[in-house]
Structures are given as structure tokens and as C-alpha cells.
Symmetry: C2
């Protein structure tokens, strides 16, 4: 098995996507047992060459005649992406977005449950939101340690995001999904994925606008 470490961010993301596409195909419809790179590419919005390279990078091979064995491929991606004993995530900031993410993730992947949520609002502590127990933010570090959580989701306001991230890291979190518009300062060994919704929204708006005017301006 090739070293997991040298694989880029983007490859990992696409592998996760491929897996989801394959699982979906696996359930509905005629359930083909084999799939060609160009078919998977179409499902994932990628290209055939890129799919082949990605699968090559995890050491998976297909046959020129039949393509890739779906069942085997899913298994191979599972082995590659998932920690054998599963991982636990925690979420800080049970506002609208936090709640939506709890609903979205809580029962998706059994290998990767959100095991606790945190908020400053005293009305929330002790309650169960979307199937997930809420605690006070003051208990964050302690609970993360206790639950051996490795993944943190930050959906708190910008003003407290850095503090929350630090507590997570102190508790042992090694990867953070950050929805706050703050550049978190964490040790280099902690992976941070920034999910800046406002940035993405403004970007879409910009290109929507530009494409509108493209016909006039493309002349340059």
C-alpha cells in the first residue's frame, strides 16, 4: 500500500467523492458491478484521466476490458480513507449552521460520528440537539480528551473562534473544519479546512455577474 502521506488535499477530496458516487450507484438501479473511468468521472464532475490517476495513487487497478470493480474499489477507498477504529468529531457553536451540520452528519457515516456539541447558551447545555448531546463550551477541552475526539467543527462567531480552536487542539483535536471567517492559528500538525460560506457566495455572485457581461467584454 502506497504511503498515504504524500497525497494531496485534492486527491483525498476526490476519493471521498468517488466513494459516495459509487455507493449511490451501488444502491439504485441496475447496479453495475464494473465502472469505467469516464463513467465515474461524469458522475463526479471530473475527467477520465484524473480518475485514473487518482486511483493509481492509491494503488488500485482496473482491467482494460471491464473497467474497475465497484465493490472492490469502494473497499479500497474505505481502507484508504477511514481510520480502522473510526474517529469521533465534536462541534462547537450550536446556532443555525451548527444545527444544520449536526442534522447533516450525525447519522451519515458510522465511522465518523459527531459525539458532542458545545455552546455558550445555558439553555442548550444538557439538551439533545439533532441526536447530539450539548455541553457548555467551558467543558470543551475536557470532553474532547475524554471522548478521544480527533475532529472539530467550528461554527461559532468570529470573535471566539480562535479560543475555541485552541481548546479543541489542547484536548487533542488534529483536524478542524472551520466555518468562521478567521484564519485560525494552530500548530502545524493540525489540519484546518476553511469553509468560508460568505467568500464562496460572493465568488459565485462575481462570476455570475461577469458571465453576464462576458459577451460584451470578451472582445479584448
Amino acid at each position: 500500500m502506497p504511503h498515504r502521506n504524500h497525497l494531496s488535499d485534492k486527491v483525498i477530496g476526490r476519493l471521498s467523492l468517488y466513494r459516495r458516487m459509487l455507493e449511490r450507484a451501488d444502491n439504485g438501479g441496475p447496479e453495475p458491478e464494473h465502472i469505467f473511468s469516464h463513467e465515474l468521472a461524469a458522475m463526479a464532475g471530473s475527467t477520465a484521466a484524473l480518475v485514473r490517476r487518482d486511483l493509481m495513487s492509491i494503488g488500485f487497478s482496473g482491467s482494460p476490458k471491464r473497467g474497475y470493480d465497484v465493490r472492490e474499489l469502494v473497499g479500497c477507498i474505505n481502507d484508504f480513507l477511514d481510520a480502522p477504529d473510526g474517529q469521533r468529531a465534536v462541534l462547537a457553536g450550536v446556532g443555525n449552521l451548527g444545527r444544520a451540520l449536526l442534522a447533516h452528519f450525525t447519522f451519515r457515516r458510522p465511522k465518523l460520528p459527531i459525539v458532542a456539541a458545545f455552546d455558550v447558551d445555558p439553555n442548550l447545555t444538557g439538551r439533545v440537539v439533532q441526536g447530539c448531546h450539548c455541553f457548555a463550551v467551558s467543558e470543551l477541552r475536557e470532553k474532547v480528551e475524554e471522548l478521544h475526539a480527533e475532529v472539530g467543527i467550528v461554527t461559532v462567531p468570529a470573535s471566539v473562534a480562535q479560543g475555541v480552536a485552541e481548546e479543541m487542539v489542547r484536548g487533542g483535536v488534529k483536524g478542524i473544519m472551520n466555518f468562521s471567517p478567521v484564519a485560525l492559528r494552530v500548530p502545524g500538525s493540525v489540519f484546518v479546512e476553511n469553509m468560508d460560506l460568505t467568500m464562496a457566495f460572493e465568488k459565485v455572485a462575481f462570476f455570475a455577474w461577469q458571465h453576464n457581461h462576458q459577451k460584451k467584454e470578451v472582445a479584448s
Copy 2:
């Protein structure tokens, strides 16, 4: 003013981020009137060289002595990113995530309001959710046209995402923020930004895991 068209995706995203950082700095604290590239870089989680290049790309100059004039820079980014007459967005899929996004965006940028939401649930149509009117999905195309909306947000289940996107495009939408795990097939002139939450979550989990084992495996 340099042509907006040649600017990449990533540059646009960072400009949006810089603007938000500057506006925040503009409000709280000592309100410095000037800022150096390395300061802005620290706020945005970028590098000084990249900040300078990004600002260069929109034709903005600073002075070596004082850095960049904050007020002027914000104005320049505004002129660059914002459509002069504003833009309107619509959202399809008023579930947990849709509601959270409505709450998040509705009153943020006056130049970019979400002017309508759509859902199949008849209990929602006619109601106002997070300050936004809800309509039936069947009215989507018509309303988009009527409101001259250029931006669409897709938070519907995967099974109906493609259909919703097509209706949006037919109504005149030119940019889509897609939260469904589906590779939308739209005309090349329509910009699509995929926000795959599950993919991002799994990616963070993967690197959280790998970093855990890094000390042992880095030996290779």
C-alpha cells in the same frame, strides 16, 4: 481598470476575504488607516507576496512607506467585486441547511440579498422563513425571471438537484452555489461552486488521522 475576466477563482475568493478582514479591522479597535501586506496576510491566513500580487491584479497600489490605505482599498475591492446595481439570489431547499444559510446571508450584504426561497413542502409555501418569502418549487423559474435573480443556492436533496439547477438556469441564473453532492450539468456560461460538506468533513478526518500517525510514518 484591468479586465476582470482573466482573474482566477482563487484570486476572487481572496479579495472577498481581504475585504471582510479590512471591514472588521475598520470597525473595532484603533482603526488603522493603513495596512501592510504582511499584516493583511496574517489576518487572511495568506502570505505577504500573495497579497501584493492579488492587489496588483486589480490595479491597486500602496506606498512603500505606509502600506495600503484601508479605506481606499475597500472601495477598490467593492468596485471590483460588486455589481453596480446589486444582484439578487434565490435559494432552493428550505431544510436545516437552507434555513441556516438564509439566516447567514439574508441581511449580510445589501448588494446581494436572497430574495426568495423555494421548497416542495406545501407547509412552507407562503410563509416567511428567516426574513425570506417561500414559494413552491414549481414557481422557481417564473420567480427567478421576475426578480431578475442571477445567483442560485442549491440545498435540495441529491435526487432533485439537477432539475432545480436547470429551472434556475432557465430562469436566468448565472452562478450556482451547490451544496448537493451532484455534479450539476449546466451550460458552460453558468458558474458552479460546489460546496460538498461531506467531502470536506471526510477530508479533515483523514488528515486528522494521518497527522496522528505522522510521527511514526514520516520516517519513509
